[in-house]
Amino acid sequence: MAYSNKVIDHYEHPRNVGSLDKSDDNVGTGIVGAPACGDVMKLQIKVENGVITDAKFKTYGCGSAIASSSLVTEWVKGMSIDKAMTIKNSDIAEELSLPPVKIHCSVLAEDAIKAAIRDYQLKHGISEPSPE
């Protein structure tokens, strides 16, 4: 299995590994996937004035899954929530040159950022999900 250089880079030097305080009102946490599938991503964002100021991730999964979630944390820092909600798995897959068999890793990363945003929104009484 030949990994793209970008996937390897994220795997060897992952960006933003770690955790934010779940109980902090400004933090949104998304946990997606399942151990039985071999992929679990926890993605957290810190939001101030509608802008994501920090993002952290932890992933149990293959190199492509780690790279996908690491990349997302890199992208969303500095983004508004609305913009972050529009991140598409195809963008992630293209950036990392994921082969077809690994596309589902990018899908999970898209799910993760959306889940983190929704968690933040729920905490702030915004129960309506943003348009997909």
Partner: protein, 421 residues
């Protein structure tokens, strides 16, 4: 004894380690021993005759080499050379043994086969094929150590059972089944007993008489011989086993398997078999010591578990899981070392290892498994290096793992409702 081996570095230059890659996947295949290659060479260009050419010295010399190799292969398993049929490998041998026996016995009303859920696909897929053609197959489940019991086989035997196929040692876990007892039981009930001995041949003592075996599959490329050549042992006395040939065209190999013999491959297989037999006591002891040293070090890593019986296992295979770390990501961290994983990510189908699942391993532990095989050319330095690398990478990946974090926080993962995509 060290044999100089030049292993070419991968052409994919993404590996940044300067050290040459270390091969520790001997269960998958082995490099052909340079001495075996030397033995084979004359048979490409000098002694190149067709072993079936009866009318000239080219054929006679080729035939002589084939028969010498046949004696060597037979000697490993205490068989008569007449009982060795050359094949293209063990996949073909498994097909020939099972389909050949069932087809031959169909006339007498035998239409039942017994096998095990952890067999190699060459056996399982052959059985699935037979099921589509009116044969009934019983797949015996294994216990959590990967073993079946003689009692299970006894309970499965029917008056119309043609053959029972149980692999001597498992290719993923190294687990060795109670072959002699199963063989004796089958003999008593007039059921043919076949064993896929690919991983065991030349590595642990295999005796077709002492182990009560009627059919046995072997492959050269697992014992430092070339790929593309194997053999099937077919018993000729007590009882005489008859097979319906699966490949027709000239009646070679006593009618069992037609086709011009792969003389160079056969010569290589014979020489590899000789080396294996002569070196077995010393080599298997050395390999066992290396594997046990690696095992002891890796088991000091928290939440590490060995897959498969520790007591009944081949010297060289270690299948181990590290909880909360996914197998393919661990493999990436072991660049420069060639091992394999039971993780779904490393299989084309995204399904985790069926062998580990059959042993009752959770999907997570199957995903987190590594198979490491020690072999003829493995050194203590290599064991040291891989142990250190695994320790480091498991720790690093656990730092990145949300599962490890939850476990450290005292959360019971089985209580979590996951949201799979």
């Amino acid at each position: 004894m060290t044999i100089p081996i030049t292993i070419a570095p991968p052409t994919d230059t993404t590996a940044t380690e300067s050290r040459a890659p270390i091969y520790l996947d001997y269960a998958a295949t082995t490099p052909t021993d340079p001495r075996v290659v030397d033995a084979m060479l004359p048979y490409f260009t000098t002694i190149f005759g067709n072993a079936a050419s009866r009318t000239h010295v080219f054929g006679w010399q080729a035939e002589e080499a084939v028969e010498a190799a046949r004696r060597e292969v037979a000697a490993v398993i205490n068989a008569d050379p007449k009982e060795i049929t050359w094949t293209s490998g063990a996949t073909e041998g498994n097909n020939l043994a099972i389909k050949g026996a069932v087809e031959f016995l169909a006339e007498s009303g035998k239409k039942h086969v017994i096998t095990v859920t952890t067999e190699h696909k060459a056996v399982l897929d052959t059985c699935k094929y037979l099921e589509r053609h009116g044969v009934e197959v019983t797949y015996l489940p294994v216990d959590h150590e990967g073993l079946i019991s003689v009692e299970q086989v006894a309970a499965a035997i029917r008056p119309d059972t043609a053959i029972c196929s149980v692999m001597f040692a498992n290719n993923e876990t190294g687990v060795i089944q109670p072959i002699a007892d199963i063989g004796a039981l089958c003999r008593k009930h007039g059921v043919l007993f076949h064993t896929d001995a690919v991983q065991a041949f030349g590595k642990v003592p295999v005796d077709v008489d002492a182990h009560n075996i009627d059919l046995l599959s072997m492959s050269a490329h697992k014992i430092y011989g070339p790929k593309g050549i194997g053999a099937l042992y077919v018993r000729r006395r007590r009882p005489r086993v008859r097979l319906a040939p699966q490949i027709h065209g000239g009646g070679h190999e006593r009618g069992n398997r037609s086709g011009t013999l792969n003389v160079t491959g056969i010569v290589g297989f014979g020489f590899a078999a000789k080396l294996a037999r002569e070196n077995m006591p010393e080599e298997s002891a050395r390999i066992l010591a290396l594997r046990e040293a690696l095992q002891a070090r890796l088991m000091r890593i928290p939440h590490a578990s060995i897959n498969g019986s520790v007591a009944h296992r081949l010297p060289g295979i270690l299948n181990i899981s590290f909880a909360y770390v996914e197998g393919e990501s661990l493999l990436m961290g072991l660049k420069g070392i060639a091992v394999s994983s039971g993780s779904a990510c490393t299989s084309a189908s995204l399904e985790p290892s069926y062998v580990l699942k059959a042993m009752g391993r959770s999907d997570e532990l199957a995903h987190s498994s590594l198979r490491i095989t020690v072999g003829r050319f493995t050194t203590a330095d290599e064991i040291d290096y891989i142990a250190g690398t695994i320790e480091r990478e498991v720790a690093r990946l656990r730092e990145m793992s949300p599962l490890w974090e939850m476990v450290q926080d005292g959360i019971d993962l089985s209580t979590i409702e996951w949201t799979p995509h």
